[in-house]
């Protein structure tokens, strides 16, 4: 999912770097590279261990999708939301309830139900954006966050009256294929995430995306030149929350195997927000880089810590170190590279390209 979803394609720098190759050949090379990458991504379950699949790749895909949703709202439309986890929660519960109450509903259709429920919730809590601007909107998304958590804890119907409020996801299968193995969970995630991200990429490059960016860059000016700002903002909330809802369903069904509202709390919302800031606001590859970072850093810190101490490290200590590292990185990136790690990777790739294109 990395190299075929570059955020800044067909730039003059890239062309310059590959100037020695002829155009049709370059086109063929690009398609070949895409097929190779796609093949590698699809065949990953045969190459890596079950641990890597279920503890790293599946959560990275789910969080990257949530990050993509957050990115549409915050990175493209410029509306600050700290309620992504609430929309994920709505998506997870709605998927579960659709699966439970509609007999014979296909799994993917239940996912779509979850996404639509999350989209409606997102539009509802995005309504105040018609009146208010900027970080005032934080309060509306905070209301979503706390209200949704409260609702799913207090109203037993949503969790099928489970006494603990925690519900177990059913075994996964799509069109008769059993996907209950770790590899199956990964394929399901891929099957859901890849088309949605491709769709999002097209969306932000079209009329809708331009309207969002106009609203982000200067709302009053956007309205003056004829962008229907209210509609653009609500659409961003709807589409972004749809993505978050599907991501929540994946998080619950493919990663955890349980649906629980307390696992999708404010901290998770901040995590999704950090994914987008670290990866790169307003870039397609950014959420993937950010999500991989967010999942891998704790594992890495744990390894480094136990190597230094020579035993297992106190998890509380690790958690605090993690917080400091994330916070400091956010500040550092905002100061040094506001476009995030996606931009850093892009700059690095150009440098490598230039170096390669130099006459020997």
């Amino acid at each position: 999912m990395s190299s075929n979803a570059t955020a800044w394609p067909s730039s003059s720098d890239v062309n310059e770097a590959a100037a020695s190759t002829s155009r049709p050949l370059r086109q063929t090379l690009r398609i070949a590279a895409f097929i190779l990458c796609a093949g590698a991504v699809v065949s990953l379950p045969f190459l890596v261990t079950d641990y890597v699949l279920s503890a790293i790749l599946v959560p990275v895909l789910a969080l990257a999708l949530a990050g993509t949703g957050q990115n549409l709202v915050t990175g493209y439309a410029g509306q600050l939301s700290v309620g992504s986890a609430a929309f994920m929660s709505v998506g997870a519960f709605a998927t579960y309830d659709a699966h439970l109450h509609v007999p014979g509903i296909p799994l993917l259709a239940a996912f779509v139900c979850g996404g639509l429920a999350a989209a409606l919730t997102g539009v509802f809590f995005g309504l105040p954006s018609l009146r208010i601007r900027g970080f005032y909107l934080v309060v509306s998304t905070l209301a979503a966050q706390f209200f949704v958590e409260w609702l799913f804890t207090k109203v037993g119907w949503f969790s099928d009256y489970s006494p603990s409020g925690v519900i177990t996801a059913p075994p996964l299968a799509v069109a008769g294929f059993d996907l209950s193995s770790p590899g199956g969970h990964y394929w399901l995630s891929l099957l859901v995430v890849a088309p949605l991200v491709a769709l999002g990429r097209n969306l932000v490059r079209g009329r809708v995306g331009r309207a969002w960016m106009a609203v982000r860059d200067m709302e009053t000016a956007a309205a003056v030149v004829g962008v229907r700002t209210g509609r653009a903002k609500l659409l961003a909330f709807g589409v972004g929350s749809f993505y978050c809802g599907i991501a929540g369903a994946l998080w619950a069904f493919a990663y955890l195997g349980t649906v629980e509202s307390h696992g999708l709390d404010l901290d998770r919302s901040f995590q999704v927000l950090f994914i987008v800031i670290l990866g790169g606001l307003g870039s397609v590859a950014g959420p993937f880089i950010g999500a991989a970072f967010v999942i891998l850093l704790p594992i890495l810190l744990d390894q480094v810590g136990s190597a230094i101490v020579g035993g297992s490290v106190d998890p509380g200590l690790l958690q605090n170190v993690e917080k400091i590292v994330f916070g400091a990185l956010v500040i550092l990136l905002l100061i040094k590279q506001p476009a995030g790690m996606a931009r850093l990777f892009y700059i690095a790739s150009i440098r490598i390209g230039r170096w390669r294109a130099r006459p020997a």
Partner: protein, 293 residues
């Protein structure tokens, strides 16, 4: 009726506590136009510093003086390391930077001082005063007094002192302020140092009530609706906002929450704030903004 009054008074007193946290926000917002999400983490950091110093045997005045010094140093450091490189950045970038700062401060506070709950004894009783018909403790009255004093002090600072006028100018337009010769960096350091001291006061009062623990940094979230209802740039508004939030959330919990399973305190203030925003986008006492393109 007596019960209603009791709930109302309890709520108003809780509101004063929210006001204390919110004041730190207003100080920074008025001075730099930054919405400082790290204010709650600063409250936690300040309270933990004070408690740890006290537990190591420092007498109250010395511990207080040392904590003030630490918070001032922290404020100056934040200005130097986080804000100065972000001069002219978009408001959203500044907000996100303070969110990162909150994580750093929370991590450091718990790394240095540990995660256990500390008791904090200010020597002021939190037991209800017997002679009064309603439940009010000495600590409540003391907190109200301190809040009033802080508000008065900040009002004087912003309205009459040279630094205060400078701070308002900076908040209004940093570029113009620098152009007429104001020392932006010194003013921001003053604002953040001041916010650190306000955080210390809030941390001590909250700590005396609920113990010094991680949940102190979550108070920041309740301060947000207070600010929105009162208006970000109004010191008087923060008091009104705090009282409205405190009283209404307690009343809602008792009279509405009991019908829907309770616990609506967690989200009620935010919904209320959204309602206020829709009716009055600049808050009760906020300044009306004119946008130029």
């Amino acid at each position: 009726m007596a019960f209603l009054l009791e709930v109302l008074i309890g709520g108003l007193l809780a509101g004063i506590m929210y006001t204390m946290v919110a004041l730190g926000f207003v100080l920074i917002y008025k001075a730099s136009g930054v919405f400082n999400f790290a204010q709650g983490a600063m409250v936690l950091f300040a309270a933990l510093t004070f408690v740890t110093l006290s537990e190591h045997g420092l007498a109250f005045p010395w511990a207080l003086a040392a904590s003030v010094a630490v918070m001032l140093a922290l404020g100056v450091t934040i200005e130097r390391v986080v804000l100065r490189p972000l001069v002219n950045a978009a408001p959203m970038a500044l907000f996100l930077a303070t969110l990162g700062l909150a994580f750093v401060l929370e991590g450091f506070a718990q790394l240095i001082y540990g995660t256990q709950v500390h008791g904090l004894e200010l020597g002021i009783s939190d037991a209800p005063i017997r002679s009064l018909p309603i439940e009010v403790s000495k600590l409540d009255l003391f907190a109200a007094g301190v809040a009033a004093a802080l508000v008065a002090a900040l009002g004087v600072l912003f309205q009459t002192t040279r630094a205060g006028v400078g701070l308002r100018a900076v908040a209004d337009d940093p570029v113009a302020a620098v152009a007429v010769g104001l020392d932006l960096q010194r003013l921001w350091a003053i604002a953040w140092g001041g916010a650190g001291v306000v955080a210390l006061v809030a941390g001590l009062l909250w700590g005396a009530r609920v113990g010094v623990q991680f949940s102190l940094s979550l108070v920041v979230l309740k301060a947000l609706p207070v600010l929105i209802i009162g208006g970000f740039s109004s010191i008087g508004g923060v008091i009104a906002g705090g009282l409205i939030v405190g009283a209404s959330e307690k009343l809602a919990e008792v009279y509405v929450g009991s019908h829907v399973g309770g616990g609506i305190e967690t989200w009620f203030p935010y919904v209320l704030a959204v309602g206020f925003l829709i009716a009055r986008p600049t808050g009760l006492f906020g300044e009306r903004l004119v946008e130029r393109v």
